[in-house]
Symmetry: none
Subunit: 415 residues, 2 copies
C-alpha cells in the first residue's frame, strides 16, 4: 500500500478504541448526478425528501472523491475507499476473477485464486468458432458445470482443490485452492485469445509461483477439456482474470469495530467480507435492509447498508427511477433514525449520472450526522449544497477516520 | 518524480484511450488577481466579459493551486503543472539556462546542457569591475557572440559541440552537446561570484559526470576568454544556471493525445515542446492564435493556447491594461466556441496580481466547459465565483486528468 495510506491506517489503528457507540454508513450507490443543459436538475434536487432535508438541516454536508480527481472507480475500488483503504494500492486490487466470484456470492477464503470462465465453441481443428458458445442459456451452463464437477470427482489425484460455479449464461467461475498450504500464484495470462479462428491460448505464467500453480492446474484443465469434448456447442472453455483474494487488514484489527454488512447484492457483500465484516443475509430494498439492521442492532458498532437501485437507475439513464429510489430511501429514513445511531453518514461509492449512464469521477455528496458533526447552513442533501458544506471535499478513504472520530472512537494524537 | 506523481501519471497512462474529442486549454497567463483596500475589484471583476459570463453560466467553475499552497511558481513550473506534471519534482526542474534558451526560441535536443551567460568587465588584475559589462546594448551582444563563434570555429578539436546565442543586452546563452553520445552533467556551479572586486570563479563540478563535462568545457572557455581579451568593455563573461533539458514522458505517450501548442512567446513554446507538443508558429494576440487553431483544428486532440498579455499587465501593475486584455479575450471567445471544442478550460498558470506587480501563490480561477462538467450556479468568471464553483480547489497538476475525463478519454478504474 502507499506509504501515506499505510501511515494513515496505522495511525487509525494506533488511536482507535472500542466503545458502544454505533456508526451507520448508508451507501446510496452512484447517488451523485449531473446538471447539464438537457438535465438541469439532479435526482437529489428533484426528489421530494422531507426527512433527508430535515436531517441535512441538523447535519454537516460535504463531498468525497472516490479514487482520485478525475478517476472513475468501479464498485470494488469505490467501496474499499469508503471502508478506509487506498483504492489505488496494488494490495487493494480486486481482480476480475475475484470480483466475478464475489458477485456470485461465493465464499473466498484467503489464498484462493479465482478466474472467470467462458464456455466456448471450437471446430475439429481446435480453433475457436464462438468465444461464448452461442450464448448458451444459464440452465445449460449449470448443467455443464455439474458435468465438469463430476469429471473432476472421477479423476482423483489432482494437486489443487477446484471449485466450478455457474454464472449467467455462458459464464462460470473457477476457484483454486492449495490443499498443502503452498501459496498459489495468480499471475496467469488469460487463455482467451479475444478472437475466433485460433485455438484457446496455453496457460502462461508471469512469475515462478504462478508457473508452479500452472503446472498443478494443467492436468485439471485437461480433465475439463476431455469432459466437454463431446458437447455439441460448449466443447471448450476460456479463462480470464486470474486473481487472488486481496488480503486486507480487517475492520476489527484496524478500527476495533464489530462490523456488519447489510447488502442485497452479492458483489457488495463480497467486498465487505474481504474487509472482515460479518455479512448479514438481506433482501434488496432499503426496508429489507432495515429489518435486518433492527434485528442485529446489538451485534455491531458499524453498519454498512448498501442501496443498489440508485446506481441501477443511473446506469439505465432513468432519472424518474433514480428520483423514486431516493424518495423510497427518504420514506425509510425515520425507521433508521428510530434506532438512534450515534453517527450516521449518507453518501455513495461514486456518482452514476443519469446523462452518462455510467459511473463517473464527479465528487459524491456526503451527509454526516453526529452530536459533534458541526451543524452547517446546508438545508438539503444535494450536490450543490454538499459543495458548500462544512466538511469540504476530501478523499473517500478519509471518511472512515471521520466516522470513528465522530463516534469518539479515536484517542488524541500526542499530548 | 515524486512517487505520488509517478503513480498518478502511470494511472492516467494506463486508463487513457484515444478518441476524436477535442480539448482546448486557454491559458490567460497570470489571470488571477487580488482585492485589496486600494484595489477593491480584480481585473476579472472589472472587465466587461459578456461572452465569458454566458459561458460561465453553463459551465463549472473552480480554482487550481499551481505548485503547492503558498508557493509562487515561475512560468516553467506553472505550465508543467497545467500539463499534468509535478512541478516540484526534480525531473521537472527547468533550470535557468534551459529556461533562458527556451525563451530565446532555441531548439533543445535531449542531452543538451544550457547555461546563461553575462558579458562582464574585468580589470588588469582579472578582478570583476562590472558583472554586466556596463549593460551593453543588444547589438553589441550580437557582435560579441559572432566573434566568439568565429573564435571557436578557428580552434578545432573541441570535445564538445558548442552554440552561443545572443540574448537581450549583456546576456547570452551557451549550449553544450556531446558529439560522442557520452552523457553530459549539468551539476556545475555558477562562475558568477555575485560581487565585483574578485575574479570570475573557476568551473566547479558537483558530481563525477559533471566533472568530466567541466574537463571538456575548460578548453572551450579558454578560447572564449582569449577572444574577448582585447574588448574595451566586455572583456570577460560569467556563466550561470547550468542545466539539462528535462526529459519528460510526452503527451502522446502519457495521454494518447496529439497536442498542439499555440503561443506567441518562445518560453511557452519551449515548455510545450519539452512535453512533446507540436509547436505551431503564431502571432502574439488571441486572434493570431485562433487563426492558427482554426487552420490546424483537424490535426490535434489537445490545443494549448497561451495569452501572455494578462501577465504582462499584472507585472506592470497596470489594472486598466489587464482589464483591456480580458475584454479582448472575451471578444475573441465566440470565434473559439465556433470550433465547438468538446472540452474547454480557461485558467492561468498562476496569479499575477496588479497590486503585487509579480507572480503570486494565490489560487487561479478555472472555468471548465463540457457536456458533463456539472453546470453549477456560478454566472461569471472571476475569483470569488470560482471559489464557490462545483469543481472546488485542487492542484493544477490534476487538471489534465479532469480534461481527459470530461472528454471521455479515461477508462474506469477497476470493476
Amino acid at each position: 500500500m502507499r506509504a501515506s495510506t499505510v501511515r494513515r491506517l496505522r495511525l487509525l489503528q494506533q488511536l482507535a478504541q472500542a466503545n458502544d457507540l454505533r456508526i451507520v454508513l448508508l451507501v446510496l450507490d452512484g447517488v451523485g448526478d449531473l446538471r447539464t443543459a438537457e438535465q438541469p436538475s439532479t435526482a437529489l434536487e428533484l426528489a421530494s425528501t422531507p426527512n433527508l432535508d430535515a436531517l441535512a438541516a441538523r447535519s454537516a454536508l460535504g463531498r468525497i472523491v472516490p479514487a482520485s480527481t478525475a478517476i472513475t472507480p468501479g464498485s470494488g475500488p469505490g467501496h474499499l475507499a469508503l471502508f478506509g483503504y487506498d483504492p489505488l494500492a496494488p494490495e487493494c486490487d480486486i481482480g476480475r476473477g475475484v470480483l466475478e466470484a464475489l458477485g456470485l456470492g461465493l465464499e473466498l477464503r484467503p489464498g484462493t485464486v479465482a478466474a472467470r470462465g467462458n464456455f466456448a465453441s471450437v471446430n475439429a481443428a481446435g480453433n475457436l468458432t464462438d468465444r461464448r458458445a452461442g450464448r448458451i442459456p444459464t440452465e445449460e451452463g449449470v448443467r455443464l458445470c455439474s458435468k465438469l464437477r463430476g469429471a473432476l470427482a472421477a479423476s482423483p489425484g489432482n494437486e489443487l482443490e477446484v471449485e466450478i460455479h455457474p454464472g449467467e449464461g455462458y459464464r462460470f467461475v473457477l476457484l483454486l485452492r492449495s490443499p498443502d498450504g503452498r501459496r498459489l500464484g495468480a499471475a496467469l495470462a488469460d487463455t482467451d485469445p479475444q478472437k475466433p479462428g485460433v485455438p484457446p491460448l496455453e496457460l502462461h505464467a508471469e512469475d515462478a509461483e504462478s508457473a508452479e500453480t500452472a503446472r498443478r492446474l494443467e492436468p485439471v484443465l485437461a480433465v475439463l477439456r476431455t469432459a466437454l469434448a463431446d458437447e455439441p456447442r460448449a466443447n471448450a472453455f476460456l479463462l480470464r482474470g486470474f486473481s487472488l483474494r486481496p488480503e486486507l487488514p480487517s475492520f476489527g484489527v484496524l478500527y476495533r469495530l464489530r462490523a456488519g454488512a447489510f447488502a442485497g447484492y452479492p458483489l457488495y457483500r463480497g467486498v465487505a467480507s474481504v474487509c472482515g465484516m460479518e455479512v448479514v443475509e438481506c433482501g434488496k430494498r432499503i426496508d429489507d435492509l432495515l429489518a435486518r439492521v433492527e434485528e442485529r442492532w446489538s451485534d455491531f458498532e458499524y453498519f454498512f447498508l448498501h442501496v443498489k437501485q440508485t446506481d441501477m437507475a443511473g446506469e439505465d439513464g432513468n432519472l424518474a427511477a433514480k428520483v423514486e429510489v431516493l424518495e423510497e430511501v427518504d420514506r425509510a429514513l425515520p425507521r433508521l433514525l428510530e434506532l438512534a445511531p450515534d453517527v450516521l453518514a449518507i453518501t455513495g461509492d461514486h456518482s452514476t449520472p443519469v446523462p452518462m449512464k455510467a459511473h463517473s469521477w464527479h465528487p459524491v455528496p456526503l451527509l454526516l450526522h453526529s452530536p459533534v458533526c458541526f451543524v452547517d447552513e446546508t438545508e438539503r442533501f444535494d450536490e450543490l449544497q454538499a459543495s458548500r458544506g462544512h466538511l469540504g471535499t476530501f478523499a473517500s478513504a478519509e471518511l472512515m477516520g471521520l466516522l470513528l472520530a465522530n463516534a469518539g472512537k479515536l484517542l488524541k494524537f500526542g499530548a
